[in-house]
């Protein structure tokens, strides 16, 4: 009886105390055993020689022939199936296979993709150069080659190659394949396409996958101009015009947030303006702006990724900044 009374007396007290506890605090519910278990698993994995990577082509559900067929269909191209297989065979794989065959005492000739890759590389280089010259008609050769070097760099080609699904199909000695093998496989695919479908199809392939990477990028960033103001004055001098920089705005002078605006004038007409934290920088920015206008590579320029066929080279007619 006494006990019940005690409890009764304390019921309002306990409810009051419970009310004080915040009940809406969100906490992440991860059991306390999770972290130690994961750590232990990691230690055991390390003991066994680290994480094992099993390449996709060692799976039970893998059919190389079907993969090669789907690869061609995906890209909307008709590849010669033997050539395509050859394009995916890396040199390292052939060396490894030959060693294996020597041990077994048999000899089956295998072709690697070196020749296809060198053909493809040559074609990509030439085509990208000609294409860029055509879509950027007023851009100097140095700039064009800067853009080209970016497009055909190993990094860029490996990126394209990876996203076309070559990663799993490539036959190599070691997996996962590195960037060099990926880029090489892409070049070899272009080489294979060149042989199986001809120049124009291969050109359109390169246009759609390599040159399309320029989408959303500023072509001026691939060419560093050391002294844009001097370059601009030289170009204008050749045409018999003189450049006149004028300070057309200044704000916050002698503060850390100073801003100057310089306009560049030719025969009392403003060709461009630039701003910066000092007059020198503002002048340089203005010159860059003017150069963009002269080269036809303004920020609002429209890229052309739909050029049909292979354009004719016009390298000889074009001017080079360094030569002038």
């Amino acid at each position: 009886m006494n006990k019940i009374c005690v409890i009764r007396r304390f019921i309002p007290l306990t409810t009051k105390a419970m009310k004080c506890y915040p009940t809406t605090v969100q906490t992440q519910k991860i059991h306390r055993w999770v972290a130690p278990t994961l750590m232990e698993l990691k230690v055991r994995e390390k003991k066994l020689g680290g994480k094992k990577y099993s390449p996709r082509n060692t799976y039970l559900e893998w059919n190389l022939e079907a993969e090669l067929y789907a690869f061609g269909k995906r890209l909307n191209e008709d590849f010669d199936s033997d050539l395509l297989l050859q394009a995916f065979t890396d040199r390292s794989y052939v060396i490894k296979e030959e060693q294996k065959q020597k041990d077994l005492g048999i000899d089956i000739k295998m072709k690697d993709n070196r020749e296809l890759a060198s053909n493809g590389e040559e074609f990509i280089k030439n085509y990208v150069q000609v294409y860029l010259e055509t879509i950027l008609p007023r851009f100097p050769l140095e700039g064009v080659s800067g853009v080209r070097e970016h497009l055909i760099s190993e990094e860029s080609l490996a990126h394209v190659s990876l996203h076309l699904g070559t990663k799993d199909i490539i036959l190599a000695a070691e997996y996962p394949v590195d960037r060099f093998i990926l880029a090489n496989a892409f070049k070899a695919i272009v080489g294979a396409l060149l042989q199986s479908s001809g120049d124009e199809r291969a050109a359109h392939f390169v246009r759609d996958f390599v040159i399309a990477q320029l989408q959303g990028k500023d072509v001026n960033e691939f060419w560093t101009i050391d002294d844009p103001y001097e370059m601009l004055t030289n170009i204008l001098k050749k045409e018999g015009a003189t450049l006149e920089p004028r300070l057309i705005g200044e704000a916050g002078k002698n503060t850390i947030l100073a801003c100057y605006r310089v306009g560049l004038y030719v025969e009392k007409k403003m060709i461009s303006s630039g701003y910066g934290e000092s007059i020198k920088i503002a002048k340089e920015m203005g010159a860059r702006e003017a150069l963009k206008k002269i080269f036809g590579t303004e920020d609002h320029m429209k890229p052309n990724f739909q050029l049909e066929g292979i354009p004719k080279p016009n390298t000889n007619i074009r001017y080079q900044i360094a030569a002038s």
């Binding site: 893998w62 995906r74 909307n76 996203h163 705005g249 704000a251 701003y275």
Partner: protein
């Protein structure tokens, strides 16, 4: 969805390798259907395989379809994408029509999008088309020819309205309403 309590990868909505600028590449590269030949849980998937799979493979030559019968195990669909994503989906007890719809989802998406938390619903490399703001961006053209100092440009136009001015305005308003009532 907040990031606080979830281990979701976050990112922006993007097309892989500028897909569609040159030509469109379907992003699903292979699909593996794993099922059991006897268990009821695989009934829907078996029906799909019997009735629709050949048409699916014909319509999508870019997708490699693998069938993997496994004795007494649950039905599973695994989709692999060109960007390396792998989507594992259990289709335990799912009906034929449900599976048809799920496979359509897997076929048309561009990767494992359900495991990506979008930071924003739009993306741009160039957030501003007019460039960064400078003190001269919205400058009044009148200032170009003005002779400074000028009381017109130098006046402080940010002060709140004075009490006198307020009264004057009230008075004028009243006068107007008086004229109206007189009429």
């Amino acid at each position: 969805m907040s990031n606080k309590n979830l281990f979701l990868k976050s990112g922006f909505i993007r097309a892989p390798i500028q897909n569609g600028v040159g030509r469109f590449v379907p992003q699903l590269q292979r699909i593996v259907l794993k099922f059991c030949k006897t268990y009821g849980a695989s009934q829907g998937l078996r029906e799909f395989i019997e009735q629709d799979l050949v048409d699916f493979a014909k319509e999508n030559p870019s997708v490699v379809v693998y069938l993997k019968p496994r004795r007494h195990r649950g039905p599973v669909i695994v989709a692999e994408y060109l960007n390396g994503d792998r989507v594992w989906m259990s289709v335990h007890n799912k009906t034929h029509s449900e599976i048809t719809k799920w496979i359509e989802v897997l076929r048309t998406q561009q990767g494992d999008i359900s495991s990506l938390r979008l930071r924003k619903y739009q993306y741009t490399d160039y957030p501003s088309v007019q460039g960064p703001w400078t003190p001269f961006t919205f400058k009044d053209p009148e200032l170009n020819t003005a002779q400074l100092p000028d009381p017109h440009f130098g006046a402080n136009d940010r002060l709140p309205i004075t009490a006198t001015e307020k009264l004057r305005l009230l008075f004028e308003k009243q006068k107007l309403s008086d004229v109206k009532t007189a009429e």
